[in-house]
Symmetry: D2
Subunit: 134 residues, 4 copies
């Protein structure tokens, strides 16, 4: 069956992007993204980071090279891809990365204000309350 493969991430660059060019001249930018997650485990608030490599092609790659740097916030939309290779001693390896279809630049976070990601169901109301008519 033909698949569907969509990833949407918001995070920060862990370093400046690298800009290179393919033999035929297509720009290629790559960087690693740190995607933070905060969750409650029983009483404690915990933080967790997921690092993932991002690859971007074409004119967007050049924009990334120009406007992004370590710490920049971005929204990345793309697809998961697996890269396979062999180590020098013949072991097979693979890693997952995201091939970006779009990269949206976020400004450095303004201070003050609150906000952040507000995920999942609120915890101050029983689930069925969500079905109430307004």
């Amino acid at each position: 069956m033909n698949g569907f493969n969509k990833v949407i991430l918001i995070g920060n660059l862990t370093r400046n992007p690298e800009l290179r060019y393919t033999p035929s001249g297509t720009p290629v930018a790559s960087f690693a993204l740190a995607v933070n997650r905060r969750f409650r485990q029983g009483e404690e608030l915990k933080d967790e980071v997921c690092y993932i490599d991002i690859v971007v092609f074409g004119k967007q790659a050049e924009h990334c090279g120009q406007y992004l740097s370590k710490g920049s916030g971005v929204i990345v939309e793309g697809r998961l891809q697996q890269r396979r290779w062999e180590t020098e001693d013949g072991q097979k390896r693979s890693k997952h990365e995201v091939v970006a279809q779009s990269v949206t630049f976020l400004p450095k976070r303004q201070d003050g204000g609150g906000g952040g990601h507000e995920p999942g169901a609120p915890d101050d109301a029983p689930a069925y309350e969500y079905e109430e008519q307004l």
Copy 2:
């Protein structure tokens, strides 16, 4: 068949959110989102807006009421829902809205800089170039 219904939108509030409470006390926030789209039609660059109403429940609703205002940028993840009612003269009507499961707050865009959302394929390279190996 049991369905699947997922919407992900990035856009800006067209007005301040309204915060109300259900009879049983669940907070409910609502606002309209403007989702912009830029596309090429032949030679011209065109812009198009899709306006859609968003409803949020629970603690997130209160956060929306607190931190969002007209113009704020957000990522909304939720499901499409249809609301049905009758007009005073007995006509049946319905509209679609999005019941948000999560609302992510985006900072105001920095000025200067470039970037912005860079959707789809770059226009300076033929599509197949994207498949080039690096």
Copy 3:
């Protein structure tokens, strides 16, 4: 701000698709999708349907015209779009529909077997259990 607008739906056609052609010859298929949702409201299991119109362009439109009929199950990926018009008596109206970027055909449901969509968090375990290490 430039937006992001993604919709993924699974449902059934409420009628046979209509296939037409634009003046310039692009095929256009349209149909309505019924997306079912089952949820628990307190003790009761409830069912709810969201109906939404789908438009498809190009070769896919022809495939839809050929292979789909009332009741067919499909996965639709696309974007929300608003259509605006005026009624004969000059009232402004608009409706939301989905412009499909892809349509995946599902076979009629096999009998036996269980399954269906399994959404959200399980209800037999406290949320923090989800963070347990394996």
Copy 4:
């Protein structure tokens, strides 16, 4: 910055799911998903597979154990997660997997018929045609 991390995949199980239980009794299912992609590279049609491990918790995990088997088609919605460990000789390793928030079961594809996933823009019409008014 607090992140956003959403993955939506459609693919097939490469093997039967494994069902285990955490010490505290939470069910945990795991399986690998094959997500196919077909693309045009110049003249040729190419196929590519991305394999990724999926983990599911709770009641859904039990449903997966009961109803899914090698080859089953599913829609997985979840988040990317990185697992870190050390090899016996002290090397640090990590891999990405997807923690599913929902798993939707797809029926086996009917034979005959046409269809399948029809991604992206049709190839029989110039892109701007898509913007034509109907």
